[in-house]
Protein backbone atom coordinates (compact mmCIF):
# COMPACT_ATOMS: atom_id res chain seq x y z
CA UNK A 1 0.00 0.00 0.00
CA UNK A 2 1.41 3.32 -1.00
CA UNK A 3 0.46 6.38 0.99
CA UNK A 4 1.34 9.79 -0.27
CA UNK A 5 1.40 12.43 2.36
CA UNK A 6 0.48 15.84 1.09
CA UNK A 7 3.06 18.06 2.82
CA UNK A 8 2.04 21.19 0.97
CA UNK A 9 -1.44 20.86 2.34
CA UNK A 10 -0.01 20.58 5.90
CA UNK A 11 2.01 23.76 5.36
CA UNK A 12 -1.05 25.56 4.17
CA UNK A 13 -3.02 24.45 7.22
CA UNK A 14 -0.33 25.71 9.63
CA UNK A 15 0.32 29.11 7.99
CA UNK A 16 -3.03 29.71 6.38
CA UNK A 17 -4.94 33.01 6.39
CA UNK A 18 -7.19 31.34 8.96
CA UNK A 19 -4.23 31.15 11.38
CA UNK A 20 -3.60 34.89 11.06
CA UNK A 21 -7.31 35.60 11.38
CA UNK A 22 -7.33 33.56 14.59
CA UNK A 23 -4.36 35.57 15.97
CA UNK A 24 -6.14 38.81 15.08
CA UNK A 25 -9.34 37.70 16.83
CA UNK A 26 -7.44 36.66 19.98
CA UNK A 27 -5.46 39.95 19.91
CA UNK A 28 -8.59 42.07 19.55
CA UNK A 29 -10.26 40.13 22.37
CA UNK A 30 -7.29 40.73 24.72
CA UNK A 31 -7.06 44.45 23.85
CA UNK A 32 -10.82 44.88 24.33
CA UNK A 33 -10.73 43.04 27.67
CA UNK A 34 -7.85 45.21 28.93
CA UNK A 35 -9.57 48.44 27.86
CA UNK A 36 -12.87 47.38 29.49
CA UNK A 37 -11.20 46.26 32.75
CA UNK A 38 -9.02 49.39 32.98
CA UNK A 39 -11.93 51.75 32.37
CA UNK A 40 -14.26 49.95 34.80
CA UNK A 41 -11.59 49.92 37.53
CA UNK A 42 -11.25 53.67 37.40
CA UNK A 43 -14.96 54.45 37.12
CA UNK A 44 -15.96 55.94 40.47
CA UNK A 45 -19.26 57.53 39.42
CA UNK A 46 -21.43 55.12 41.42
CA UNK A 47 -19.26 55.77 44.49
CA UNK A 48 -19.55 59.51 43.93
CA UNK A 49 -23.34 59.31 43.53
CA UNK A 50 -23.54 57.42 46.84
CA UNK A 51 -21.20 59.94 48.52
CA UNK A 52 -23.37 62.79 47.24
CA UNK A 53 -26.43 60.97 48.58
CA UNK A 54 -24.72 60.52 51.98
CA UNK A 55 -23.96 64.25 52.18
CA UNK A 56 -27.59 65.10 51.48
CA UNK A 57 -28.74 62.71 54.23
CA UNK A 58 -26.15 64.32 56.53
CA UNK A 59 -27.75 67.73 55.85
CA UNK A 60 -31.38 66.64 56.22
CA UNK A 61 -31.14 64.11 59.04
CA UNK A 62 -30.67 65.51 62.54
CA UNK A 63 -30.34 62.41 64.72
CA UNK A 64 -33.42 60.79 63.24
CA UNK A 65 -35.40 64.05 63.06
CA UNK A 66 -35.87 66.21 59.99
CA UNK A 67 -33.52 69.20 60.17
CA UNK A 68 -35.81 71.81 61.78
CA UNK A 69 -34.33 74.56 59.60
CA UNK A 70 -36.25 72.98 56.70
CA UNK A 71 -39.55 73.63 58.52
CA UNK A 72 -38.67 76.90 60.24
CA UNK A 73 -36.66 78.35 57.36
CA UNK A 74 -33.01 79.18 56.87
CA UNK A 75 -32.07 75.82 55.40
CA UNK A 76 -29.41 76.00 52.69
CA UNK A 77 -28.82 72.54 51.29
CA UNK A 78 -25.34 73.40 50.01
CA UNK A 79 -24.21 75.05 53.22
CA UNK A 80 -25.67 72.33 55.43
CA UNK A 81 -24.11 69.54 53.38
CA UNK A 82 -20.76 71.33 52.80
CA UNK A 83 -21.11 71.08 49.03
CA UNK A 84 -19.94 73.60 46.46
CA UNK A 85 -23.01 75.02 44.69
CA UNK A 86 -20.89 76.13 41.70
CA UNK A 87 -20.21 72.50 40.81
CA UNK A 88 -23.96 71.95 40.41
CA UNK A 89 -24.68 75.22 38.64
CA UNK A 90 -21.72 75.57 36.30
CA UNK A 91 -21.10 71.96 35.30
CA UNK A 92 -23.38 69.28 33.92
CA UNK A 93 -21.74 66.57 36.02
CA UNK A 94 -24.00 66.47 39.09
CA UNK A 95 -27.65 66.24 39.99
CA UNK A 96 -29.75 65.69 43.09
CA UNK A 97 -33.44 65.63 43.86
CA UNK A 98 -34.64 65.54 47.45
CA UNK A 99 -38.37 65.16 48.01
CA UNK A 100 -39.92 65.23 51.46
CA UNK A 101 -43.45 63.85 51.88
CA UNK A 102 -45.71 63.99 54.93
CA UNK A 103 -47.77 61.07 56.24
CA UNK A 104 -50.57 61.84 53.79
CA UNK A 105 -48.10 61.42 50.92
CA UNK A 106 -48.24 65.14 50.15
CA UNK A 107 -45.02 66.67 48.85
CA UNK A 108 -44.02 69.23 51.51
CA UNK A 109 -40.48 70.22 50.52
CA UNK A 110 -38.36 69.70 47.43
CA UNK A 111 -34.73 70.49 46.63
CA UNK A 112 -33.53 69.97 43.06
CA UNK A 113 -30.26 71.09 41.52
CA UNK A 114 -27.99 70.13 38.64
CA UNK A 115 -28.46 68.33 35.35
CA UNK A 116 -32.09 67.11 35.33
CA UNK A 117 -31.40 64.89 32.34
CA UNK A 118 -29.80 62.41 34.74
CA UNK A 119 -33.31 61.32 35.85
CA UNK A 120 -33.75 59.87 32.35
CA UNK A 121 -30.15 58.78 31.76
CA UNK A 122 -30.10 56.66 34.90
CA UNK A 123 -33.04 54.63 33.63
CA UNK A 124 -31.06 53.69 30.52
CA UNK A 125 -28.06 51.49 29.88
CA UNK A 126 -24.95 53.09 28.47
CA UNK A 127 -21.33 53.50 29.44
CA UNK A 128 -21.29 57.26 28.92
CA UNK A 129 -24.58 57.88 30.67
CA UNK A 130 -24.75 59.16 34.24
CA UNK A 131 -24.62 56.81 37.22
CA UNK A 132 -27.11 57.32 40.02
CA UNK A 133 -28.01 56.29 43.52
CA UNK A 134 -31.35 56.63 45.25
CA UNK A 135 -32.66 55.84 48.68
CA UNK A 136 -35.71 56.45 50.82
CA UNK A 137 -35.56 57.22 54.53
CA UNK A 138 -38.08 58.09 57.22
CA UNK A 139 -37.46 60.99 59.61
CA UNK A 140 -39.41 62.21 62.62
CA UNK A 141 -41.04 65.62 62.65
CA UNK A 142 -39.20 67.79 65.23
CA UNK A 143 -42.33 69.95 65.65
CA UNK A 144 -44.96 67.23 66.19
CA UNK A 145 -44.07 64.03 68.00
CA UNK A 146 -44.99 60.80 66.26
CA UNK A 147 -45.34 62.37 62.85
CA UNK A 148 -43.07 60.95 60.20
CA UNK A 149 -41.69 62.41 57.01
CA UNK A 150 -40.77 60.15 54.10
CA UNK A 151 -37.69 61.43 52.29
CA UNK A 152 -36.68 60.33 48.78
CA UNK A 153 -33.13 61.20 47.83
CA UNK A 154 -31.89 60.75 44.28
CA UNK A 155 -28.35 61.65 43.22
CA UNK A 156 -26.57 61.34 39.89
CA UNK A 157 -23.02 61.89 38.67
CA UNK A 158 -21.38 61.80 35.29
CA UNK A 159 -17.78 62.10 34.16
CA UNK A 160 -15.77 64.55 36.20
CA UNK A 161 -12.79 64.67 33.87
CA UNK A 162 -11.52 68.23 33.65
CA UNK A 163 -10.17 68.82 30.14
Amino acid sequence: MVKKLNKRADDEVILSPFFFLMLAIVGIAIVTAVVVIMSSNSDIRVGEAKTLNDRLVYAIDDNGYLNDKIIKGGFDIFQDSDMNSQMFENTNDFYFNVQIYDENNQLKYSFVKGNKDFEIQCGLNGKKLAKCYSREIALLNPEESGQIFRVKIFSGVNSGDVK
Binding site: M1, V2, K3, K4, L5, K7, R8, D10, D11, I14, L15, F19, L23, V26, G27, I30, V31, V34, M38, N41, S42, I44, G47, E48, T51, L52, D54, R55, F78, Q79, D82, M83, N84, Q86, M87, F88, T91, D93, F94, G160, D161, V162
Partner: protein, 136 residues
Amino acid sequence: MNKKISKKGSSKLVLSQIIYIILVIIFSVVMIAYVVRSGNQSAVKEEVYAKQIALSIDKAKPGTEIDINLNELNKIAQSNKYNGKIINIDNQKNSVNIHLALGNGYTYRFFSENDISWNINSDEEGKPNQLIILIS
Protein backbone atom coordinates in the same frame (compact mmCIF):
# COMPACT_ATOMS: atom_id res chain seq x y z
CA MET B 1 3.79 -1.06 3.62
CA ASN B 2 5.70 1.72 1.95
CA LYS B 3 5.54 5.35 2.88
CA LYS B 4 6.93 7.90 0.50
CA ILE B 5 8.04 11.00 2.23
CA SER B 6 10.48 13.18 0.34
CA LYS B 7 13.27 14.83 2.29
CA LYS B 8 12.44 18.15 0.66
CA GLY B 9 8.83 17.88 1.81
CA SER B 10 9.67 16.96 5.41
CA SER B 11 12.18 19.82 5.77
CA LYS B 12 9.54 22.20 4.47
CA LEU B 13 7.08 20.86 7.04
CA VAL B 14 9.59 21.36 9.87
CA LEU B 15 10.34 24.88 8.66
CA SER B 16 6.70 25.83 8.54
CA GLN B 17 6.18 24.45 12.04
CA ILE B 18 9.15 26.45 13.32
CA ILE B 19 7.71 29.60 11.74
CA TYR B 20 4.36 28.76 13.30
CA ILE B 21 5.90 28.38 16.79
CA ILE B 22 7.93 31.60 16.39
CA LEU B 23 4.81 33.52 15.35
CA VAL B 24 2.85 32.18 18.32
CA ILE B 25 5.70 33.09 20.72
CA ILE B 26 6.01 36.62 19.25
CA PHE B 27 2.25 37.08 19.48
CA SER B 28 2.18 35.86 23.11
CA VAL B 29 5.10 38.10 24.13
CA VAL B 30 3.50 41.15 22.49
CA MET B 31 0.17 40.47 24.19
CA ILE B 32 1.73 39.88 27.64
CA ALA B 33 3.84 43.06 27.27
CA TYR B 34 0.72 45.01 26.27
CA VAL B 35 -1.27 43.79 29.30
CA VAL B 36 1.62 44.49 31.73
CA ARG B 37 2.29 47.95 30.25
CA SER B 38 -1.41 48.83 30.32
CA GLY B 39 -1.46 48.28 34.08
CA ASN B 40 1.63 50.41 34.66
CA GLN B 41 1.00 53.23 32.25
CA SER B 42 1.42 56.65 33.77
CA ALA B 43 -1.85 57.83 32.20
CA VAL B 44 -3.76 55.08 34.03
CA LYS B 45 -2.04 55.83 37.34
CA GLU B 46 -2.68 59.56 36.95
CA GLU B 47 -6.38 58.86 36.45
CA VAL B 48 -6.65 56.33 39.29
CA TYR B 49 -4.86 58.53 41.84
CA ALA B 50 -6.73 61.71 40.86
CA LYS B 51 -10.07 59.94 41.21
CA GLN B 52 -9.15 58.23 44.49
CA ILE B 53 -8.03 61.51 46.05
CA ALA B 54 -11.14 63.36 44.79
CA LEU B 55 -13.46 60.64 46.12
CA SER B 56 -11.61 60.60 49.47
CA ILE B 57 -12.06 64.38 49.78
CA ASP B 58 -15.77 64.11 48.94
CA LYS B 59 -16.29 61.31 51.46
CA ALA B 60 -14.31 62.92 54.27
CA LYS B 61 -16.00 64.75 57.12
CA PRO B 62 -14.43 67.82 58.76
CA GLY B 63 -11.53 66.82 60.99
CA THR B 64 -10.39 63.98 58.75
CA GLU B 65 -6.74 63.52 57.85
CA ILE B 66 -5.92 61.57 54.69
CA ASP B 67 -2.40 60.13 54.24
CA ILE B 68 -1.37 58.85 50.82
CA ASN B 69 1.90 57.10 50.03
CA LEU B 70 3.53 58.62 46.95
CA ASN B 71 6.33 56.10 46.36
CA GLU B 72 4.56 54.46 43.41
CA LEU B 73 3.89 57.83 41.76
CA ASN B 74 7.51 58.87 42.34
CA LYS B 75 8.85 55.77 40.62
CA ILE B 76 6.61 56.34 37.59
CA ALA B 77 7.56 60.03 37.41
CA GLN B 78 11.26 59.12 37.62
CA SER B 79 10.91 56.49 34.90
CA ASN B 80 9.31 59.20 32.74
CA LYS B 81 12.16 61.60 33.69
CA TYR B 82 9.59 64.07 34.99
CA ASN B 83 10.84 66.32 37.80
CA GLY B 84 7.93 68.73 38.11
CA LYS B 85 5.07 68.91 40.59
CA ILE B 86 3.33 65.53 40.88
CA ILE B 87 0.20 66.65 42.71
CA ASN B 88 -1.86 69.81 42.87
CA ILE B 89 -5.12 70.22 44.77
CA ASP B 90 -6.90 73.41 43.73
CA ASN B 91 -9.39 74.64 46.33
CA GLN B 92 -10.72 77.37 44.04
CA LYS B 93 -11.43 75.09 41.09
CA ASN B 94 -12.32 72.10 43.29
CA SER B 95 -9.99 69.85 41.39
CA VAL B 96 -7.14 67.37 41.86
CA ASN B 97 -4.37 67.19 39.28
CA ILE B 98 -1.87 64.32 39.02
CA HIS B 99 1.12 64.80 36.78
CA LEU B 100 3.54 61.93 36.09
CA ALA B 101 4.89 62.81 32.66
CA LEU B 102 5.22 65.78 30.34
CA GLY B 103 1.80 67.11 29.37
CA ASN B 104 -1.22 68.28 31.31
CA GLY B 105 -1.57 65.26 33.58
CA TYR B 106 -5.04 64.19 34.68
CA THR B 107 -7.48 66.46 36.51
CA TYR B 108 -10.62 65.35 38.33
CA ARG B 109 -13.07 67.52 40.24
CA PHE B 110 -14.69 67.12 43.65
CA PHE B 111 -17.83 68.76 45.03
CA SER B 112 -16.90 69.14 48.69
CA GLU B 113 -16.92 72.69 50.05
CA ASN B 114 -14.83 71.84 53.11
CA ASP B 115 -11.56 73.69 53.59
CA ILE B 116 -8.71 71.53 52.34
CA SER B 117 -5.13 72.04 53.38
CA TRP B 118 -2.49 69.70 52.02
CA ASN B 119 1.20 69.12 52.35
CA ILE B 120 3.78 66.82 50.81
CA ASN B 121 6.44 65.25 53.02
CA SER B 122 9.78 64.32 51.49
CA ASP B 123 12.28 61.59 52.33
CA GLU B 124 16.00 62.13 53.13
CA GLU B 125 16.81 62.38 49.42
CA GLY B 126 14.26 65.16 49.00
CA LYS B 127 11.83 63.02 47.04
CA PRO B 128 8.14 63.47 47.94
CA ASN B 129 6.91 60.31 49.62
CA GLN B 130 3.74 61.21 51.52
CA LEU B 131 0.71 63.39 50.81
CA ILE B 132 -1.22 64.63 53.83
CA ILE B 133 -4.65 66.17 53.31
CA LEU B 134 -6.48 67.84 56.17
CA ILE B 135 -10.22 68.44 55.88
CA SER B 136 -11.67 71.17 58.08
